[in-house]
Structure formats: C-alpha cells, structure tokens
C-alpha cells in the first residue's frame, strides 16, 4: 500500500489505532529481555490465550525495551477501556494464567509489579511522582517495532507529512534551532546550527548520516531506540534530509547489535514499500533513500570523521577538522552526522513545536536525556529524565541506590572520555555545562555506578586500557602518550610508583589533552585527571603506603584465614590453584607463595573467616 498523501496517512493511522480487543499485553522483546528468558513467557501467553479462546479479546504485542532491565522478563497489561495498566517484573511462565485471570487494573496474586516512574509529555500531563519524561523512548516498550501500522497508530510519519507538505526547508532548520536541541552523542553541539551549515552549501549531492555506532561501554540507549522504535529514526532522517537538501541517508550501525540491524532492515523495507522512503514522498517530488552500513568493532568510528572514512570502506582513522563534514564529508560532499538519540527527538519537536520542547529541561540544555544505569546500582536500566534533574534523584530514586547496601562512591559518566562524579556533587543539576564543570561530560549517557569496593586507580587504568586498545595509532600523543599513562597507572596499582610518577602522570595527561588529533585522544586522559582530582588520597595510599584501600589491586593485597574458620573445607575445595590446606574441622591455611589472589575463597567463605589485607 502506497501512502501518497497526508489524507491517506491519517486514514491508515485511524484504522491501525482501532482495536476491538479489551486488553493489550506488551511483552518486552529487546536483547536484554530475550537474554533473560522473555521468549518462553511470550509463548506461554500465546498458548494460554489460544487454550482459553481469547484471541479476539486480548492482543499480545511484542515490544522493544521498556528500560526495566532490572526486572526482565517484564510485561505490561493494559485495559483498553479504562487505560489502566499494570507492569509486571521478573515474570515466570507459571504466573501467566494468574495474570490473564486478573481483573482490569488489578494485580495478579503471586507476582511482582514495577511502579511506573515516567510520563509521556506528548500525551499526558506530569504526575507528581513521575521523575522520567519519555520523549525519545515514547514508543519503546509500547509498540511492535516490526509493524509499520503500530508506528502509524502513534503519530508515525505525521511529522514528515507536515514538513513535506506545509514547510520550507529553512523553516524546519529554524524550528530545530529554536528548540535548542543539542547533539545527544556527547558533544552537545546545537543540531539546528549543524543543519544550517550543511544547508548553506551549494552542492547537488549531500548526505545525512545516523551515527548508531554506540561504542561507549555501558551505554545502550541507542540500541533500545533502534530495537524498539526504528521508524522514528528513519522519519527524522528524511525530515533532516529535506531541511539540508540531501537525498541520501546512511545509518552506520555496529555489528554487535544483530537485533537492531534486523529491525532496521525491516523498517527500511516497510517504509520503501509504503512510499515513505524512495521517490516522490507524499507526492511532493522529494526523494530520499537510506542504506545501512556496518561497523566492525572500532570505538574511534564514533568520531564523525573516522565514521565517514569507515563508510567509505577505509580504516576508521579520524582527520583534522576543519574542514567540517558539513562542508566536506562523505565522498567529499556536505554531510551531517547526528546521533540516534538526537534524531529520535526531531519528530516530537516538529509535531509539538519548539516552545513545547523548551518547557522541558533547562534553558541551556532543553529536553530530556536517556541514561543507561549500570554497575553497582540496584535497578539497572534505561531512564529518560528532563535535563537539570539531580544525580541523587537518578541514583537513589530511580535506581534505588546501591546494591547490597554498600556505600556509594562515584558515578562515571561519559565513558572512557568522561570522568567521575562523587558524593559531594550528588545535588548538581545535570546538563551539558554542569557535567563539564565537574570535569566529566555528558557523553552518550552511560552511567556506571561504583561503590566502596571499587578502586579508582584501577578504574582509571581500565579506561586507559580501553583507549590503548581503541587508539587508531595515527597521532603520537594518543598512540604513545596513552601507552605511557597506562604504564604509570600499572606501576601505581602494583605498588612500584613514586611521587614523581604521580606528577608525571598529571603533566602527561594535560599534554595529551592539548595535542591529540581527535576527540578520542583529547578526552582519553579525563578519567585519570578526574580520579586524581576527586580521589587523590587513593593514589597516595597506593604510592606511599603500598595499600589499595578498596582491596582490588592484587599486588597490594593478601588473603589470610582467621580464627573464625570452622574447617568446613569450602575454601580449599573452591580454590582454583589448590593453595589452601587444612584438616576437616580445623583452621585452614593459605600458602601465600602459590595464591593467585583471585578472591574465590573470600567469596565462598560463609563464616567471614578470610581476611583481605
């Protein structure tokens, strides 16, 4: 079916939105959900519904990620008449009959429910306890990403229809500029300005690129959008293409996301079939096509010039800017590279206007940001919050604090390019500027929470190891400088460093920041500088006292067995190198010369009889 006019679009949307079913059951089928066992639960629902002959009364919808990674498999049951909904977490197959039998809006017995902490600014007013505002994730976990009709029923392609049939390209750019939308990939560059640069170029051929090379470890919001709502990215790319005068789009996606790749392929095919991509979209004479290009495991390809080289089939090495891609990008043509999350905001802004968008967030950073909470936090998952929210609200209210009642130490934002934020700054309102002022950065939105058991020197070394692996080797500061930083951090972790090492570490870090070629190198010392600034005492403990306060650096710790030992032999049996000896019911002994300090004994002992020194 070709959708060749806004009228046709509205007709189909109305048709798709009408449903005779009384209940809708949304089953979360993102990567995490599937890995946690959602498929058997889905099958159980299908089987039970068929057995009870309820196919017409209950719709089972496979949706993308709801962001509730901590409670997968998760499902939502919505009563269509009243709109009442119940979200269940950690659903097991055995609970399926009870869930189906529960009255609308009532909670089934013997199940675990999850409180909804978000609202949808586009269709609802804010409730007091809704800390999250979902614009980017508006369809994730609510629609079947593999069905175009589901997207159409939720205002899909309405923004594109409005742009192509009622707006001039410059008006679109003005709207995005007025909304204050900034690049969500990390840098925070104003999106409207980027589009304006490319639009000003007189060139018959231009390109729109979507950066879906989400390489920052611990960030998975782009994956959630692509798996849960792929059409919203396609629609925004066509709008952007119209605004700058481009007819070709490229989505550069990492090969590590097979499900996202599959759903994008499907979405592109559906949009082409419906005439929403290709020639003469909505009968306006505007042509736009989108192709997929795969990454191949190189973090530096998240940098836009490196990404462009990779699309061109070359090594993903960055080049000096200027010229900026907006002037000379893919195949030397004007090119705009925007991140997935940035695109996911565009359609909502077109539909609701710049003022609506600016009413959410802060003056300098309007809108929302999706954060991926991971690490030692109790509720791992995705949250989308208005800019300006306090870190405390994210970690303690949405994330439910630290797992196992441990003490919060720091949160790393911005991944290997960012820095850590400590307890002292939990009440800072989060936006691009405030994070930079704290020596960190927004980055793509990964938040790794660390507790008292994490050694900050070792964390800095981890990030440097990452940078070393991922440095393309083109410029000397990054290739050699980071290698030296890593060696110095290793010396500190192994107790071989002096105070001179620390001062060298600081000065080399600053030099690399000033001299490296691209964003990867320029930001690689950030974790080092940030941990020194916030946790210098830990560095000093390693250097002066030869101690690792968190008990992580193996060279600086030793294990011994105290007199609480009852001789249960558990530790001796679990030791992988057999260095623990002792008679049954007698105190055991660790042979320190053979011990590899793996900590297995420490974890396995039920009597607190093993000391870590």
């Amino acid at each position: 079916m070709i959708i060749d006019s806004p009228a046709k679009l509205n007709e189909l949307a109305a048709k798709a939105a009408s449903s005779s079913a009384r209940t809708k059951i949304l089953v979360s089928m993102g990567t995490c959900g599937i890995a946690s066992g959602t498929t058997p639960v889905l099958n159980a629902f299908r089987k039970e519904i068929a057995a009870k002959n309820l196919q017409n009364a209950i719709d089972v919808v496979e949706v993308g990620c709801m962001g509730l990674c901590h409670s997968e498999p998760s499902i939502e049951v919505i009563d269509n008449a009243s709109g009442k909904s119940v979200i269940y977490g950690n659903v097991a197959e055995a609970q399926v009959p009870a869930i189906l039998a529960a009255e609308p809006g009532e909670v089934a017995q013997g199940t675990k429910t999850v409180k909804r902490t978000w609202y949808y600014p586009e269709v609802e007013t804010k409730q007091d306890d809704a800390l999250q505002a979902r614009i980017v994730l508006r369809n994730c976990g609510r629609i079947n990403p593999e069905k175009l009709e589901d997207y159409l029923a939720n205002k899909g392609y309405q923004a594109l229809a409005k742009v192509l049939t009622t707006m001039k390209p410059q008006a679109v750019i003005d709207l995005i500029s007025a909304s204050g939308l900034r690049g969500r990939g990390g840098g925070g560059f104003p999106t409207g300005k980027k589009w304006q640069f490319a639009a000003a170029q007189q060139n018959a051929e231009k390109f729109m690129i979507c950066n879906a090379d989400e390489g920052d470890p611990g960030a998975f919001m782009d994956r959630a959008v692509l798996e849960g709502d792929p059409h919203s990215v396609l629609e925004a790319m066509v709008i952007a293409g119209f605004a700058i005068g481009a007819h070709n789009g490229v989505i550069y996606i990492r090969a590590e996301y097979p499900l996202a790749v599959k759903r994008l392929h499907l979405a592109i095919a559906q949009a082409e079939e419906a005439g929403l991509l290709g020639k003469n979209i909505f009968g306006t004479g505007f042509d736009f096509k989108i192709e997929l290009k795969y990454g191949a495991g190189a973090f530096v390809c998240g940098e836009e010039t490196a990404l462009i080289h990779s699309v061109e089939g070359m090594r993903g090495e960055p080049t000096f800017k200027p010229p900026f891609p907006a002037i000379s990008g893919l195949w030397k043509k004007p090119t705009v590279v925007n991140n997935v999350e940035t695109y996911a905001n565009v359609c909502a802004i077109v539909r609701n206007g710049a003022d609506w968008f600016k009413a959410i967030g802060t003056a300098g950073s309007p809108g929302t940001k999706v954060f991926a909470l991971a690490g030692k936090i109790d509720k791992v998952g995705l949250v989308e919050v208005p800019m300006g929210i306090k870190l405390r609200d994210i970690i303690y209210t949405l994330g439910n604090g630290i797992r196992g009642g441990r003490e919060f130490k720091a949160v790393q934002t911005g991944g290997p390019s960012g820095g850590c934020i400590t307890k002292a700054h939990l009440d800072t309102p989060i936006d691009y500027e405030s994070l930079k002022a704290l020596g960190s950065m927004m980055g793509s939105g990964g938040m790794i929470v660390m507790d008292e058991d994490d050694c900050m020197v070792n964390v800095a070394r981890f990030f440097l190891e990452f940078t070393l692996d991922e440095s393309c080797g083109k410029c000397t500061p990054c290739r050699i400088g980071n290698k030296r930083l890593h060696e110095m951090l290793t010396e500190i972790c192994e107790g071989r460093a002096t105070m001179e090492t620390l001062s060298k570490l600081k000065s080399l870090s600053r030099t690399i920041k000033d001299t490296a070629l691209c964003g990867l190198g320029q930001t690689s010392p950030n974790p080092v500088l940030s941990t020194i600034a916030n946790f210098e005492d830990e560095y000093l403990a390693h250097i002066r006292d030869q101690k690792c306060p968190a008990g992580v650096c193996t060279n600086l710790i030793s294990y011994s067995i105290n007199d609480k030992c009852v001789g249960c032999t558990m530790c001796a049996r679990s030791c992988p190198v057999g260095c623990i000896s002792g008679e049954k019911k007698q105190r055991h002994v660790i042979d320190a010369t053979k011990c590899i300090k793996c900590g297995v004994c420490f974890q396995s002992c039920k009597f607190h009889a093993i000391d870590k020194n």
Binding site: T31, C32, A35, S36, C69, H70, E72, E214, G215, D216, P217, G218, A219, F220, R223, A255, E256, Y257, K293, Y294, G295, A296, G297, A298, F299, S310, V311, E312, G313, M314, R315, G316, E317, W331, A372, A374, G375, K376, V380, G381, Q412, G415, G446, I448, M450, D454, V459, F462, F463, F466, D469, C472, S574, P576, I596, C598, G599, V600, Q603, S604
Partner: protein, 176 residues
C-alpha cells in the same frame, strides 16, 4: 588481478579451490552489489563484503582477501589494512566455540577480569588465541549492552549472565 605475488598452493589458497560452493556464495553476493555506478565509490562496499566473507568462511584467509580485492578493484594492501584495523575481522582460523568475555565498564566493575583470568588459566590460552585442540577461541569484547546481566560471557550466540570465576568449568562443559 590486483596482486600476483601470493604463493600458489598454500593451505589458504586451497580454501577457494576446495570449497567451490563457498566461493560461489561470496561471488554471488558481490554480484548483487550495485558496483561500478561510480567506480571511485566501490570501496564503500568493502566492509560489508568482508562481513559476508567472514560469515561464509569463518575467517579471512589470504586467498579470500585477494579474491575480494580483485572483485572490488582494490589493492590487497587496502583490503588487508581494513581487516587489520577492525577488531571484528580475523585472518586466522578460530575455534569451534568462540568464548567472548565482555570487558565493558559495567562488567569490569562487577569482576569480568577475574572471569577472563580464569578462562585464560583453564584453557591455557591468552586473549585472541585458540586452544590446542582447536575447540575454543578466547576473546574479549566491549559491551553487548546487556549490562543488567554483568558480567556477561557470550559463547557463540549463547549469552551467560552474572558469571563468576567458579562457573568457568561449567560453561566449558556446556560446549562439549
């Protein structure tokens, strides 16, 4: 032929000859690419062709590299340069079971290194190596985006979550 300096008759060379059906599969894939519309831009198809070739052959031996270079009218050095740059591509054969320990940040803070060390010790290999019996290749990768299950280990397509060093022998046993 872009480069003719390869030694004929090496084990690598035989792969295209020995497995004509695989060669045909790759060839027909390349034929579906819209090549030569703009010859300068043909290199834009290189990475997707390498992905396809690696999925067909399991790795990218010299003969396959030469074949692709020839088909896309590129130099072998350009093809090899791309393969060596991206961690996803490999020019050495890998084991039947590819064990990938996620060493992303979330997995790291939850003890992925201890798990990786235990795999190294248990299989007696370093990261990137294949065990002597050719069964297991140990690798590490950065973030599968399944941080709620950290630490995560992926064996071929199967994902293990909340892995501890103690589970290593079980995971190996699962493969057998």
């Amino acid at each position: 032929m872009s480069c003719t300096c390869q030694t004929p008759g090496t084990a690598d060379q035989n792969l295209l000859v020995q497995r004509p059906e695989l060669r045909a599969e790759l060839e027909s894939y390349i034929q579906t690419l819209p090549l030569s519309a703009n010859p300068d831009r043909n290199r834009g198809f290189l990475i997707q062709t390498l992905h396809k070739a690696q999925s067909i052959f399991g790795y990218l031996p010299l003969c396959v590299q030469l074949f692709i270079a020839d088909q896309l009218k590129l130099h072998l050095s350009e093809v090899y340069g791309v393969i060596s740059f991206y961690s996803y591509f490999t020019d050495t054969p890998i084991g039947r079971y590819k064990i990938n320990v996620c060493t992303g940040t979330a997995c790291f803070v939850k003890g992925a290194n201890r798990v990786l060390d235990e795999f190294k010790r248990y299989l007696n290999v370093e990261v990137g190596e294949t065990s002597e019996d050719g069964k297991f290749t140990l690798g590490s990768l950065r973030c599968l985006g399944a941080c709620s299950l950290a630490p995560v280990v992926m064996v071929n397509d199967r994902v293990y979550g909340n892995v501890t060093a103690k589970m290593v022998p079980e995971i190996i046993n699962d493969c057998e």
